[in-house]
Structures are given as structure tokens and as C-alpha cells.
Amino acid sequence: MALIDVSDVTFTYRVQPDEETALDGVSLEVTEGSFVGVTGPSDAGKSTLGRLLASYVPNYFEGALEGSVTVGDHDVTETSIAEMSDTVGLLFENPFDQLTGASSTVFEEVAFGLENKGVGREELIETTAEKLRLTGIEHLYDRNPQQLSGGQSQRVALASMLAMEPEVLVFDEPTSQLDPHGTEEVMRVVASLADEGYTVVVVSHDLDRLGHHLDRLVVMNEGSIVADGRPQELFRDADGDDPYELPDAATVGKRLRALGKVPGDEPLPLTLEDVVGEVAPHVADAGDESPGASIESDGGLQAAGDDAAVQFDETHFRYEEDVHALRGLTLDLASGCVCVIGQNGAGKSTFMKHLNGLLTPSDGDVAINGKDTDVHRIAELAGEAALSFQNPNNQLFHSTIEAEVRYGPTNLGYSEERVDELTEAAIDRMNLEEIREKNPYDVGLARRKHVAVASVLAMDTPVVALDEPTGSQDAVGIRVLGDVVERLVEEGKLVVVITHDVAFARDHADRVVALRQGELLLDGPPREVFGRRDALAETDVDPPFVTRLAARLGLPGTVLTVDELFEHVS
């Protein structure tokens, strides 16, 4: 018998004002020990499905539920969240909000659930230690949970959930708010738990990392399940019109099959290793791996000169005394899209906060359109450079999306007509027309991030800076952002994008700046920067998948796209 049995479920949240159904006739059976992925666009009902399994729906998130849901022996409508926690554990995206906020050490945090269960002290200590080991964080046992990185924090939340000894683990976008390093840490643990015999359900957009671990992939769209099967089969049948992004490895594999290089009935490759094996025999000039073999020297991009929009001159910045976040950064940015990459702690956010004087250099100078940030107030600099931060909840507070978008231009003292005009343009560009009268908090996180970006676009500044705009976005959301960036560049603006998303940088950047520990590591066009694989490794950045694939195949130069890769396939 299936461990999870969802039968013809339709659900509408009570708070959803316009009666949109979150789930519409969903049926799903999951057998014990399987590893199931759930994917699909934002607001497709994926999170609702996860909440349903853990009985958060309908116990906490109330609404009209039809159909039946059982997990093990429990009917979710008759089981409280606390009782359900013995059977199902749910981990959601924000790593910090899932902690109790009442523990001074990681060990206490993980032990909390066991204390509530009333487990004897010996067993309590033993179980806690075991879960710390299982999630690879035993070395953090005496650290303050509030002071961990995102990836560490997420694993503490996971260990705490495992301590309740559930059979089913549900992950809702567990890595969408993490950097690549944290994502890797968490994904590795998630995959290992499936091997430990847990039944695992993961909601995620990241099929590149997840795809090859899965027994089964469920695709949702508009509240319904639209596809369900083995990942390789679903990817084989994908026609390019699917509500999810195909993993890069599968894209390359499909193209090889379409060209007849590989028999059509061979299972699609899902990992770099597999795809290397498939492409290698068909590449003419495959030779020894030679990363960055033919790289031209630094391009002419640095020579922006005195009229550059952003000038950093020997800029140092220290937080208090001991954290040296920028170390003598010298950089001119004129126009185009500049993507800033680098590991956490490389100084990316510190760099961004220098663009409008939120931070001013401890030593050296920063000028924005010729205005020294030491001299001009933030309120003045806001008219030169507009910044949108990662967490939209830190800025949105109006009762409608339209009012939110008007806020920035109004602050800058533009005339009423100009504010109207800019607001309309920003709403239009970010595709917010349909929801402009809604409260920003009544739309999902992905759309809310778009609202935050729109509210910055409407300020019509010569410099626009976006911090991790593609986090939590689905393929469509990323495309919207990409289009916006391109448009701004066409208008002659300087767009600075802080990002971990190397594919976005490859597709849209005119110039990529890699930082490492507050210093400039690499600076040049994407092709040049992504060709320097060894240097990038110093700041924990991997080049895009196809670039890595081409390097493994020993192709000359730096390959950035699948089309370029196939130029080498004979």
C-alpha cells in the first residue's frame, strides 16, 4: 500500500480573496522509500501540496478542502501538526524562521523537539548527536544558531526535523535562498537521506542538481498535476513548451538524439559525467582537458575613464575593526549589464551598498555620476542609483502594488505626471498589470520580488542595482527579469546585478566582475571570466554547465551555449 495517498484533492485558501483554487483535483500515491521531485512554475500549488502532507493545510492554513489525504495511518484532516510531526517533517525555504529562536546552541535547538516529546535524557543526547552527524553539522554543535550561514542554518532546521523521527520528509524549495555552496551542502544531505530509507518529497525548480537523484518527477501547473513519471522519460517527451526548465544535461542529450548521434531509446543523461560520455565520441577536436586555453587578455571594458557612472578608487571598507570587507577595490563601471559574482563574504553586498552611500569607504573614494558618496547624502544619491535588495519583505508596506511602485519616484520629488508615467511603465515591464490592485503580501514570494524590482525601476535612475533578483524565481520569472535588464541597457543605463546565477550572468552580462575576499579577482566579458575556471574556484563559483562540459571535453576556447557546443559536434 502507498505510504502517501492523496485522492482527488481540491483546496482553496480561506484568505485568498478571489477564490483561486490552490489545488484542483490532485491525486498522488507515493510508496515507501521513494524519492519524488515536484516541480512547476511559481503558484502552481507545489507548496500547498507539501503543506497538505504535513497537515499544515488545513490545520494552520485554513480553507475548503475536498478529497482525502492519508499519510501512513493518519488522515490529515483529523491529525494535528504536532501529532503529524512523528510521521511527516516539512522543511521550508527560509532557513532562519524555522528555528525556535530560543536556543543558545545548535545542540539545544536540535534537542528541542525531543524535550517536548519527553524522551529520556540519555536517548535525547544520543538521538540529537546522531541527527547532527546525519546532516554533517556535528562540528557546529556549540554554535549560536542565529549566527550560522544559510546552508548551515538549513541543515540545523533539517536535523531538528529529523529528531522527531518522521518517516516522510517534505522539502519545499529548501535551497532557493541559499548560495551555491549552501545549496550543494543541503542537496547532498537531502540525497543521502533518500538512501537512508526515508520517503522524500522535494519541491524544487533546480532539476539540474536534483534530477539524477529522483525516482519520480511530478510536474504541477495551475493547481493540477500535468505530468508524472520517471524524470528521464518526462524529459524525453518534453517539447520545449513545458512548465519547467529542462536540466542542461538533458537538453544536450536530447539534441544528440535528435541528430541521431545517440539512439533515441537510450535513457537521457542527467549528470555532467553521463553527458561527457555521450558527447565525447562525437567531438572532433576532443583532447586533453585544458581549462582556459585560449583566453585573450583583459578587454577594453575597464577603460571607462572619468565619465564612468560608478567609480571605485582604492576603496577599503571595514565593519567595526576586524572585518575587512573591501580591500582596495578600484573599478569603473560605465554602462551595460555588469554581473558581480563571488562566494558569500566576497564583499558583493558591501560593494552594492556603496553605490548609493548606504556605506561609505573607510579609505579611498566612491563616486556615483561624479558625486562623491562621502559628501552627498543618501537621499540625493538615491536619485542616481536605485538599489533593490534580496528580501522584498524589508521594503514593501503599501496596501496595493501600485502604491508600492509609486513610493520611490514620489520620494525623489518628481511631478505627479512623471510619477504616473514611470509607475505605469514599471508595472508594465514587470508584468504586474493584473495584480496592481492587490496587496503585495497576497502574492507569492516570486511575484513580490518582482514588485520590489518594479518599485526601483520606477525611480528612473541612471544606475540600477539588483541583489539576487533570480532567487526563488521560476523560468518565466527569470525571463521577465532578463528582458527588463536588456531594456535598461538599451536605454543606456548601468545595471549592476549581484548574483549567484551564472547562467543569468552568461545570458545577460556585458561584463562580469568576480570578487574574492573584498578584492577584484576577475573582470571582463562573460566568455573571458567563465573561461578562468581555476581562478573562479578560488571564490567558489562554477562556470555555467555547458562551459564546464566543454572544458571536460577539452574543447578549445570557452564555450558558453549549447549551440556553440554543437558547432564542435561532427
Binding site: 534537542a111 524535550e115 519527553g118 554543535y141 542565529q146 537621499a379 528580501n391
Partner: protein
């Protein structure tokens, strides 16, 4: 395991718990609170500086034995020294009831000489010493008590686990709020909010900052209550604790002593008043 259970807590600030093995560290937290309360009450009830001075000497000696005197002294230097200096200076020199010369300082530039009077100094000490007892006793309690052990001890004495949670969460709440307030301030300023303009605009700025802070708190509260629920927080079965907080006979005796000490002080004051 011992290292774990004695691990430092908190954010590494000056007020945080300092692990150690002294009698103060091992004292039951509830007894420690009771003693602190009784010392402070008795010091405040005292009509002169004598009893508070003895109590002050006692708590300072305890700090020395607990190995936290350095930190306590540093904090007192910042908090109490300015108060002490100004009290002693003004009352020692200018208290209207000054009659008896204590000592004279000669040969000073400008003023020539100053006279320090006994009545003023006594008055200053009567105000100052209970304050010092209060500060040092509370600091000693905070620095030698693991917050979680305090919570456990309170629950074992009948406090509801929910209240204990609120107490623990409150400790972490301030730094969390501060971090979030900073992020909001940055985000709003980046959208042109002027926090240095005239009063009217500043007031509006305050609203613009407060609203996202409140919304953020609501969101955090919502997800956190789910996290607590899913960790079995609302279960009604008896709980166990990671930390063992022994309640030895000596701890019970100390609580009795604390109660009797206050009763005795009150009785003494009442008798003196009659």
C-alpha cells in the same frame, strides 16, 4: 559532553553568560534569583550605607570567586563610575546639610582649595551603595546563569513551558529585530526615503520603517509558530530536559535564607519606625 553543556551562549557580548565552575555557576538559578532579589530589597530598605556596603562587598567577592570580576568591573566603569563620581562630587561639596569637614584639598589651581564634607559624602553613599548592589548582583546572576538552565529551573518550579519559551525567545529577539530594522532602513533609503529631512518628513520616515518591521515580525511569528508546533511544542505529555539543573539542599536553604533575610529587614525597619 561537558564542554557542550557549558558552552557559551548568546552573541558574545559583554552581558553574556560566562561558563565556569564556581559555586555561583552551580547554584540553582531560582535560588540565585531569590538571593539577588533579597539583597537588592534589603539594600534599598536600609536607611544608611552600612548594610548595603557589606552586601556590596559580598557580591563583589562572589564575582571574584566566580571569575567574572574583570567583566563586571568593566561594565561598572562605564555605568556606575559616572554616577558615583557626580553624586560624591556634588553632595560632598555642596549638600545644604554639610556641617562637618571631612578633609580639605589645598593648593588647587583656579579655585585654590576645596572642602569635602562628611554629611554630603554619607548622603551620596546612602544613595549609591544600594544602586551598586543592584547592578552587581544582577550582572553576577546574568553572567553566571546559562539562560536555558534558568528556563528549565523555572519550569521545574511550576512555570509554564510557554512562558519559559517566551523568556528565552525574548533574549534573542532584540538582536534579531535590530538586524531587521537595519535591513529595512537600507532598503527604504535606497528608494529615496530621506531620514534626515525636516520633522514632518522624518515622522513619515518612521512610519515607513515601522510598517515593514511589523509585517516582518508577523511573518516570522507565523512561520515560527509552525516550526514550534511541528517540533511538538504544544504536546501535553511531561517534558524532559537536555540540561539537568540540580536543586540541592543547599539551594533550598539559600532560598529560605533569602526569604528570611527580607522578612528580617522589613521587621527591623518597622520596629525602627515605631
Amino acid at each position: 559532553m561537558d564542554a557542550l553543556l557549558n558552552a557559551p551562549a548568546g552573541r558574545g557580548g559583554l552581558f553574556d553568560y560566562q561558563p565556569g565552575e564556581s559555586f555561583l555557576h552551580h547554584m540553582n538559578p531560582v535560588s540565585k534569583l531569590a538571593l539577588t532579589g533579597s539583597f537588592v530589597t534589603v539594600a534599598l530598605l536600609s536607611p544608611s550605607y552600612r548594610v548595603p556596603s557589606v552586601l556590596f562587598a559580598l557580591v563583589i567577592a562572589s564575582c571574584l570567586l566566580a571569575g567574572i570580576l574583570g567583566r563586571v568591573a568593566r561594565l561598572l566603569g562605564g555605568l556606575a563610575l559616572p554616577i558615583a563620581a557626580s553624586l560624591l562630587f556634588f553632595h560632598g561639596l555642596f549638600n545644604p546639610r554639610n556641617e562637618t569637614r571631612l578633609f580639605v584639598v589645598d593648593g588647587l589651581p583656579v579655585v585654590g582649595r576645596i572642602v569635602v564634607w562628611e554629611e554630603g559624602i554619607r548622603f551620596a553613599l546612602t544613595i549609591l551603595t544600594p544602586l551598586l548592589v543592584l547592578m552587581v548582583a544582577i550582572l553576577a546572576t546574568v553572567m553566571t546563569t546559562h539562560p536555558k538552565k534558568l528556563a528549565v529551573a523555572m519550569v521545574e518550579k511550576g512555570l509554564s513551558p510557554r512562558l519559559a519559551y517566551v523568556f528565552m525567545a525574548a533574549l534573542q529577539f532584540i538582536p534579531e529585530m535590530r538586524d531587521q530594522a537595519e535591513a529595512i532602513l537600507d532598503a527604504q533609503q535606497a528608494r529615496g526615503l530621506d531620514v534626515r529631512a525636516n520633522i514632518r518628513r522624518r515622522f513619515r520616515a518612521f512610519v515607513d520603517l515601522l510598517t515593514p518591521l511589523l509585517i516582518g515580525m508577523l511573518i516570522t511569528t507565523e512561520t515560527r509558530s509552525l516550526a514550534l508546533e511541528s517540533r511538538g511544542f504544544t504536546r501535553r505529555n511531561p517534558r524532559t530536559f537536555l540540561f539537568e539543573v540540580p536543586d540541592r539542599p543547599v539551594d533550598r536553604a539559600l532560598r529560605w535564607f533569602a526569604g528570611l533575610f527580607v522578612v528580617a529587614a522589613v521587621a527591623w525597619r518597622v520596629v525602627a519606625w515605631l
